[in-house]
Symmetry: C2
Subunit: 434 residues, 2 copies
Amino acid sequence: MSEENTQEPALSGNLLVAQSGGATSVVNATLAGVIEEALNHEDEIVEIYGGRNGIQGILNEDFIALDSETQQTVRGLHQTPGAALGTCRFQLRPQDHERLLQVFAAHNIRFFIYIGGNDSQDTAAKIDELAKERGYALRVIGVPKTIDNDIAVTDHCPGYGSAVKHIAATVREMALDNLSIAQHNFVSILEVMGRNTGWLAAGATLAKRRNALLEDAPHLVLLPEVEFNQQAFVEAVQNVLRKQKFCFVVVSEGVKDADGNYLGANATNIDEFGHPVLGGAGEHLLRLVEENIAGVKVRASKLGIAQRAAARFASKTDVDEAVLVGRAAVKFAVAGETGKMVVLVRDDLAGGPSGYAVKTDLVPLDEVAKVVKPFPAAWIGSDDKFSVGFQFTKYATPLIQGENPVAYEGGLPKYAYLSGARVERKLERYDTLR
Amino acid sequence: MSEENTQEPALSGNLLVAQSGGATSVVNATLAGVIEEALNHEDEIVEIYGGRNGIQGILNEDFIALDSETQQTVRGLHQTPGAALGTCRFQLRPQDHERLLQVFAAHNIRFFIYIGGNDSQDTAAKIDELAKERGYALRVIGVPKTIDNDIAVTDHCPGYGSAVKHIAATVREMALDNLSIAQHNFVSILEVMGRNTGWLAAGATLAKRRNALLEDAPHLVLLPEVEFNQQAFVEAVQNVLRKQKFCFVVVSEGVKDADGNYLGANATNIDEFGHPVLGGAGEHLLRLVEENIAGVKVRASKLGIAQRAAARFASKTDVDEAVLVGRAAVKFAVAGETGKMVVLVRDDLAGGPSGYAVKTDLVPLDEVAKVVKPFPAAWIGSDDKFSVGFQFTKYATPLIQGENPVAYEGGLPKYAYLSGARVERKLERYDTLR
């Protein structure tokens, strides 16, 4: 689908952009792309508003005037982690529908760009349907964002490449440190994110150098797509230790046992959606190794939030694509598209010497809303299920190429902070917690 | 003490360098400095040997020929984390003394450079005494190395600046991510290393921007030098949350309660020296906050090994000083010094526009061996003990200045791996585990 073919009537009004779900290293680069492109369409786009804390803030008319931010700040967003507008994990309820359209109408919002994961695309889809139902002229475009890389249709998700680059570099560095002390049997366990899918854990395998030697970490990778088998895991660790006395394990926080329980998750620790709070998989494996293998030293680490916030080590490819999808969203909206999400399409024929290039396209929101894209079964090692195949390396290697230089002040990265000039409220306050 | 004043007779033979204790981002830069400087002294230094796994490998004659490594590899050591020679935590026993001198004599070792922390300086001191006792002509120079910054006399320790730079940048990045979702009361806890001292945890405070706003993380810093008081901690968190709904806590793994127990340490998990394996302080505080403060979301992270291995984000100042102390060790040894450790002396008068410069000097090994330098009591906040004063900021800021560019291949840092050509054994094998 290309932007020239639309027959929609010209629309003019304000653009509202918001961020939703967990942050990534590059979700602000997408925001910058939206702002920068919106400035190119002054016939259609009058003001550029940022909605604070996603749809939850929008219901409360919590808007800031993005066109009043300095150019320096917008440029700084290309390298700033976190989600500068704030995010939410709020689900739009039937009783919010009327209010939402009131807010949009009161501020003459005609273009709505929602940057988020598969849950957020569902919210965007609902808003699009709602506007159509009520006859309110609105163009809604979703933009993918997640380190988990689990959004359907798009070749990959902005945020993923930078997270993988950081994880793989960290594995390489930790392994060098581990090897310093690995005179005897040593097991190093690193827990990474990925509640439902193994894309991030698989990404750690990029740490293996070309023509990987046997001892190149990581040696075992545990994905949520593979049911955890304690005996197979212990045997796999023993096999690696027999060969080289050092075993580096990467485990996704979302790995489950045969009963469907998350490894090490505490059943009493439940988040606001009733999901268990994860993050015990690494410690669980540590205890398993200690209890089942004699004479071994084990250490477990957990990257946590740092793996999605290390913008000083973002992938240039990822940053560029994050900007690209933001700009594309605005172009598509102005061209008359609505109810769709921007996707990245790998364009092998257009690739330069590296053989890699992408272009943007659109997909209907209801094809991606709430859909989770698993790690392909065919890419999981057929023998032991603790490795991934060359198909993954070929897929993921282009996504971590290039470094994104960040500015420094006083020896630390200088990140951008929005001044956040508030847009005046036009309606009564509204309590989303009611 | 300067290198020109010595009256020692000229000595000629082989140089042996080894690394001991936990690795840092820059302990290989020190190794590179030793190799590069040794090549300048061909009248005195015949061969350059690397001892694998510290004194433990040396007793086993486990030597590699460092002069046969390529220039590219040695240059690569300036940016490679881990300890390329391997390390040990082995204590020299009386029954090893005879063997040690046999090994040194068999390989005509006349210069011995030991890179390590305060325990390792004790080993260096013993070797120096032993050689003197037995009339074996040997020059022993210790070189400081530790991310903990707890070695006495030296102004600071190579390895510390890079660890602090990484920790402070990570705090700044995590806080940006945390703030994205911190609509309600949110507590973020980051556990850092530092078994005995709070230098690393204090370093996190550099993340506060100049003219720090109230909301600048970290808000509370817990050092091992301050006895943990549960009530004071909970109240401090509540105070921060009342002001801004977001509280970022940095805790050293070495914090102890009034009974002298490490927070969250598992009494059944003891390492080979009988020390408890630490690393539960963050999780312990998480549970405390959840149990004592209603309506709050808490997340805990632990940087682990990554904080001492992130060479792609090393401080240029730290790398340069790591090389400097390595070179100085060789110069001092060739000039006739022995039984001493290289120290960094802050040279305020020589400082350029930044007001910061260092020079090297020597201190007798027995003044630093096994001595732990605590974080100064006068630099700890007098009111709540959860902050550090401007004196620390002034002290530590110069140590994190500058970035050390690393080479990349395939999107990841390209680190150096020693080819490790073995030096032929001359003696019978020796079992250090006997």
